[in-house]
Amino acid sequence: MTTAPQIWPDAKGRFGPYGGRYVPETLVAPLEELEHAYAEARKDPRFQKELDFLLKNFAGRPTPLQFASRLTEHLGSARIYIKREDLLHTGAHKINNCLGQGLLAVRMGKKRIIAETGAGQHGVATATVAARLGLECVVYMGAEDMERQRLNVFRMRLLGAEVVSVNSGTRTLKDAINEAMRDWVTNVRTTHYLLGSVLGAHPYPMMVRDFHRVIGLEAREQILNVEGRLPDLLVACVGGGSNAIGLFHAFLGHAGVKLLGVEAGGRGHALGEHAARMAAAAGYSGARPGVLQGTYSYVLQTPDGQIAATHSVSAGLDYPAIGPEHAWLADRHRATYTAVSDDAAVAAARTLARLEGIIPALESAHALAELIERAPKMPRDSVVILNLSGRGDKDMEILARYI
């Protein structure tokens, strides 16, 4: 059954109570400028045409929706389909948003792009788009992430980007965002901040979602073509939540399609051992609504409002806040969220490699691990779509320890 979805966010960038624009005054005018430029671009058929051309001819869209026949058979489960975002240029869904924002930066006359990166996938996609569009590019990356994802550091540098190591705080994604915001607040007149997830101040959560919406639009058409019906369940991993919202959004109006986000359960339930913001029901502690890096959403924090350290084997999920639209979907029970451990994610990556010949990113392997638990409990004629948001090449050094 189809119901008309309410269009979020509202004019102030709110998804229900979540979202908004909590930034130092210096950034308000540039955020307003970005909001207006995006609103104009969105209405401009030439912008959409140029973006579609690059998505097709540079990034490799549409991506296949593959029936995972051996995995389905092995699990004796619901019919599992895999949306192959890992096949995109640069190896993850991140390029969808980078192309959109890159074109927007050119349109706004900005010659310099900055970005943060956790796993390095967003950094690589940004560096790639900057090279393609002839823009200067600086990527901030936590020192710990540079170590665990150093192949991506080499890729960014080869593409001509400057990669700046961030040694403050927890030396991961959160601190890379802090440093990118400090750069932006300083160089705001010449620079576009190409934020990589559905996080940050308005209009980022909306704009980044819109650029990833193509994932769900394609998947919906593809599943209707092969199965003749909508899926029963969508599963995606959630760090900030860009690949998940990209898949979910086109299905929001279809009440029969269940949405499941999978967070990083890390190595335990105690605060500091995981990055699960919405999985309190599964025993993960420390998340409450709060303000971090421009937006109001669920944040892992101490009782007196200091942002907590997080842990995940996957750098891309290792972040203390979730995108505000996810918080709102959870509050309304439109989507549910759970978490899986480091070990379960690694085991799932191995399973997919052996059964389907696909090495998934450790981020996407979290979604897969939850699916491996759930799909066998569903009726065998039900249909599930897994968003395989990225490929695992970048994770080989970590995976090698488990082989």
Binding site: V185, V291, D304
Partner: protein, 284 residues
């Protein structure tokens, strides 16, 4: 009770201090330090030293794990303060203790999340009861600040908002309307921290702000030397110095040595403010 008497009693310590400065033709000095760096006991001594040396308003920074608007000096101070176990509740106790010893106006300078987690009402009630005079939240602009302003003003706390070089005239008017006590003008795009020179565009920016408000204007970011303060004479009602003071604390070998260094620096800067003012033409 006459109308005049009522308005006198309702006036905040901050407004009174700026009124005194205006009537004596003096430029003020606002001093920022991070509370709890290296301990709350030390901060108490530092505030008394700053006030004794002539600081007109003290901003007490509430340390936060993710200070996106701050440069490396204040980032390090926040980390030291958090390692020492500083909490917002602890900073409020410090305010209470200070208020028993000094009448210097005290502004709590914080990121939003610690205040939000305490609860806006509870924070306002406790800050006011402790004897704080105003609040400045770095990552709350008037656009997102309606509820916050209501909570603070109902407890008699001034709400100080930031104005920036990127603010349009329309935004400056919005900021002026939402501010009380004084308006804090950021001298340049960027994070906190000392710089050699002030931005060339600063005089024009200060004039744009002056056109939209009668509130006292304090200019901060990048101010560390007497020369910077002299440049502000005639543009600002006060200069804000922060990172330069925090750096003195970081450099000093002990708490007494830090207190002494802070007092010396404030005397030097306040001296520049007063001397610069006396050199000006009357009514310039």
């Amino acid at each position: 009770m006459s109308h005049l008497a009522t308005s006198m009693t309702n006036e905040s310590r901050i407004s009174r201090r700026f009124a005194e400065l205006r009537s004596s033709g003096e430029m003020g000095l606002v001093a920022y330090i991070t509370a709890g760096d290296p301990s709350l006991e030390a901060t108490e001594q530092f505030v008394l030293a700053l006030a004794g040396a002539g600081a007109d308003v003290i901003e007490l920074g509430v340390p936060f794990s993710d200070p996106v608007a701050d440069g490396p000096v204040i980032q390090r101070a926040s980390e030291r303060a958090l390692r020492a176990g500083t909490t917002l509740a602890g900073v409020l106790s410090l305010v209470k203790s200070l208020r028993a010893k000094t009448e210097v106006p005290l502004v709590l300078f914080s990121y939003f999340n610690p205040v939000l987690q305490m609860g806006l009402e509870k924070f306002a009630e406790q800050a006011s009861a402790a004897g704080a005079d105003g609040v400045l939240i770095t990552d709350v602009t008037p656009d997102e600040g309606a509820e916050y302003r209501q909570a603070m003003s109902s407890r008699g706390l001034d709400t100080i908002f930031l104005a920036a070089p990127t603010s349009t005239d329309e935004r400056l008017a919005l900021i002026a309307k939402a501010s009380s006590g004084f308006l804090y003008l950021i001298s340049r795009t960027g994070v906190t921290g000392a710089k050699d020179q002030l931005a060339d565009e600063l005089p024009a920016l200060a004039r744009r702000v002056r056109r939209v408000t009668d509130l006292p204007i304090a200019i901060g970011f990048g101010i560390s030397l007497p020369g910077h303060v002299s440049v502000l004479v005639g543009l600002a009602d006060a200069a804000v110095v922060g990172s330069a003071l925090v750096e003195e604390i970081e450099r000093a070998g002990s708490v007494p040595a830090a207190a002494e260094a802070l007092a010396a620096r404030v005397k030097l800067l306040k001296g520049a403010a007063v001397a610069g003012m006396s050199r000006r033409e009357p009514n310039a």
